[in-house]
Symmetry: C2
């Protein structure tokens, strides 16, 4: 898949990415897994058609009222539609579905055709006390699509797939207004036709969509050059149960707090983002990807920090630690093959020929001076073309009896190595204590002048209850992140999985402030209840305004 | 004054800047003014000692409780202290004080010595129903220091001057933690000693302070290269009547909304920012400032847009329109002298010698290709060295009978010329209708990939009631800004002057969301009541939580 291929439209309920291109484990990987004590699970995953769904809680009258807003053909309580809208793409989400558990399935899937229909649906659901899960790409890996249904008449998935237009392109201001249900590849395809790129390529690119990018503060693999998604958004339209909020009268201003940044990252709890206006860049005429070798993670991190602090900054910049370099995740085709040793870094440059040449020369000089050894373009190109493929390996690994998951965090540079050591130790010790010593891989993939993200991949043999097994490791990692004062997520978000850690991170007054905003915009508390923040104590008793 | 001169500490109650360096009108200016029908006012300004202050509303018991928190020597109800903390530096603020009106004077000035004392003061004021004006530099030009006192036992100015330390410098992460009361020049001086710069140089630099930069979303004249203040802040500590909120565990994250951006721009209504952690840059080894001539504002704006969209981006980038160029505000010493005609642009480059050379060569090529004519370094250096001087001219102009004020806005590039025409027309027509045709000057001084700010300077002959005269023009300008869909302020803020326009800009639901946050953090509504947002309908009846 390249940035402008046709989008996938038909995902499997619990297998990553494009069903037409499943991954197979390399033979070398199978040998390594056996050495880790990995054995195939006793039971094969439950087939989608056999997954048990709870009974539909909404009655015909409620379903009829929903249909009256969007048309009967855009409301479904069928098994397949409900199953496809059950939870997201985290390993725990997949493990539950593979075990046949779809308790979090919505009662109905509703597809509005306009912003106005979204507003009408939210008002209706507030009146009928129906919880609403805003759904665009469905790729959450932090439980962002699994709300608490207690106290509600039912739950609907509000799927934005029909809101998939490019509403406007302003070539002078270099902005585009994109509807929330537009998936990444389709948005990119439409913008390229006009000579532009969004430059946003998260690993979930094939499945994720504009609304999710915004609601969950996505960061793409080219964030060094193109910025994070929250950097790109200059305007947005939010549908709430009480009406519409339209924000973004200028790129930046001193007209009060930047309320766009209050909606970005609100994960569907304050309203449904129906469109965003984003900053565009010219589609790059040229691109070069290279790989570099550093003797150690510390040396590589110092070199990358120098680049991002003093420039020139490449479009893509990442560094694998020794363990990840040895596994060669950057090139899944060659996984577990012989690597260059040390730590592998990838640099990518995109832009005009002049820009690419100037930045590449400048950055190469800095990296060389900092001890980097240029390995050439082969490894960089392998990373670029294979970059959406790594997560595809999870399904055959789960099939083979491996427990594999990722997690990520971000901190300031002076705290980076302490954080990496603490999280690695937390994951290793909890899983080793359960008799399943893990492989813990780490990389830096998003860099700022003042700090960087750390992304961990953890793999070990599955126990009989892999959910409980992972939960222990994840809790320990969260505690380590909090103890180091780092953020609980760099780009995955909070969802339900990180809610308690997030509350600790920002403190009780900040949580109350968010609950107050939610109470103002969503007084009935129907939007993604229990996601991001705990339901307000007053939510169940005070639903008027 | 250069960036690292010793700070001014003793400002006049109603004259701009350093009292040791007042400005005088050039002879050419006096001639021009006579042609505009300007006559000196019948009455000289009321001397500071003769300005009438309202009686102190707080009784000895309340003053004693305040003193118990901070020490008696840090509470003052003296005439001079109250007068110096009355309103800010806008022309209406000055006109009122010059007329002897200090109705908005606080009852007492209180200077806490620590974050904990601020928290204790806010809790005390909530209990005693005393309104609090957070005060750091005191340079607001939008009525941000004039709260509504109705319903309160009294008003105090909470002056942060004693919180003036650099608490920490992290050389690896390139961050510093600065207390809110630190004025810009002193912060810069302390950071330069360690080889760093903040790079934040607003026109109010001599008087403004860190807390005000943050609370009002300041943007400095080097924003193209160093960013706006809200770009620099990676962490902050907020004192509220209910306790402390500490934000900023990472440069950027997906851990919920970016709540730092909710506090930045909140103008003291949600809490008192007592310290911020900011991103630093290396102090520049070299700097070059140049001026350029363009045939028209449109041609110059196109050229600057090209630079900011495709690079390389200078550290300082600004463009005066034909009128401003002819008045030569960029070089006050030569004001109203012969200029180069057309439109004057200033480009400044700061950094290492290599960075300056590379950016200067690249940017010059772009500007030349876009029709710019390089005038050399003289005009650029004149702008740089004189850049804090222009506002000093306001006092002798007011003395001479001129009504002079500035206002600013920001929009997307495709809307820029329409906005400039509409605001110019609004100002010209309303003042001409009053018999005082104005001079309206405009420049671009802050640029983004997707848009730019417009800064207007308006001057005409004073009428007998200059406040009413200006209010008519300002209302018309605000209406024009709103009609064009632009932001009501790029860097001055909302205060009380822009409150209604701001409410229109973000809409009633967004205002309710902000009121809800205020209610959560400041249930008694004591913090800057009536600034930024209207007092909530429930504020007077519901002060518990």
């Amino acid at each position: 898949m390249t940035e402008s291929d046709l989008p996938v439209t038909d995902f499997h309920p619990y297998r990553w990415g494009d069903p037409a291109h499943p991954a197979e484990l390399p033979a070398a990987a199978r040998e390594t897994l056996a050495a880790f004590g990995v054995k195939a699970p006793a039971q094969a995953p439950v087939a989608p058609a056999d997954v048990r769904l709870p009974a539909v809680a909404l009655d015909a009258s409620a379903l009829g009222e929903l249909a009256a807003v969007v048309g009967a053909e855009h409301v479904s309580s069928e098994h397949d539609a409900r199953l496809r809208h059950t939870r997201g793409w985290s390993t725990p989400d997949l493990l539950r579905l593979r075990a046949g558990d779809a308790d979090d399935a919505p009662d109905a899937v509703v597809l509005p055709g306009s912003h106005e229909e979204v507003v009408a649906l939210l008002a209706l659901c507030a009146r009928l006390n129906i919880a609403v899960v805003p759904y665009s790409g469905g790729t959450s890996v932090v439980g962002g699509l699994a709300p608490q249904r207690a106290g509600f008449a039912g739950v609907i998935a509000l799927d934005l797939a029909r809101l998939d237009a490019v509403l406007a392109v302003d070539e002078v201001s270099r902005t585009a207004t994109l509807q929330a249900g537009l998936r990444g590849p389709r948005a990119e395809q439409l913008l390229r036709e006009q000579g532009f790129t969004l430059g946003h390529f998260p690993q979930s690119y094939e499945g994720a969509s504009i609304g999710g990018y915004a609601a969950a503060r996505s960061a793409g693999q080219s964030s060094a050059g193109y910025g994070r998604f929250d950097d790109m958004v200059v305007g947005l339209v939010l549908a709430t149960p009480r009406g519409t909020v339209t924000l973004g009268s200028a790129p930046k201003s001193a007209a009060g707090p930047d309320l766009r940044q209050l909606v970005l990252g609100s994960e569907g709890t304050l309203g449904v983002i129906t469109s965003v206006t984003v900053r565009l860049r010219p589609a790059p005429a040229e691109r070069v990807y290279e790989s570099w070798r550093f003797d150690s993670f510390e040396a590589g991190a110092d070199a990358l920090r120098r680049l991002v602090q003093d420039g020139p900054v490449p479009t893509v910049l990442r560094l694998s630690d020794e363990a990840e370099t040895s596994v060669n995740l950057a090139d899944p085709k060659a996984m577990f093959g012989a690597g260059p040793g040390g730590c592998l870094a990838v640099t990518g440059y995109e832009g005009t020929a002049e820009q690419v040449a100037a930045r590449r020369a400048g950055a190469s000089a800095v990296l060389t001076a900092a001890g980097g050894e240029l390995l050439g373009t082969e490894g960089g190109e392998a990373w670029r073309t294979g970059r959406y493929r790594a997560p595809y390996l999870r399904d055959p690994l789960l099939d083979a009896g491996v427990l594999i998951e990722t997690l990520e965090t971000v901190t300031f540079w002076s705290n980076l190595h302490r954080l990496r050591a603490a999280v690695t130790e937390a994951l290793s010790s909890t899983l080793t204590a359960q008799g399943t010593p893990p492989l813990v891989l780490c990389h830096i993939s998003h860099l700022y002048e003042t700090g960087a993200s750390l992304y961990f991949t953890v793999a070990c043999a599955q126990l009989e209850d892999p959910l409980a097994q992972w939960q222990a490791a994840k809790s320990a990692a969260n505690a380590a992140i909090r103890a180091c004062g780092a953020a609980i997520s760099h780009h995955h978000g909070v969802g339900t999985d990180h809610r308690e850690s997030y509350a600790e991170e920002v403190g009780p007054l900040a949580v109350e402030a968010l609950q107050a905003v939610k109470q103002a915009l969503d007084p009935a508390g129907i939007l993604n209840p229990g996601v991001l923040i705990a339901r307000s104590p007053s939510a169940s008793t005070d639903s008027g305004h």
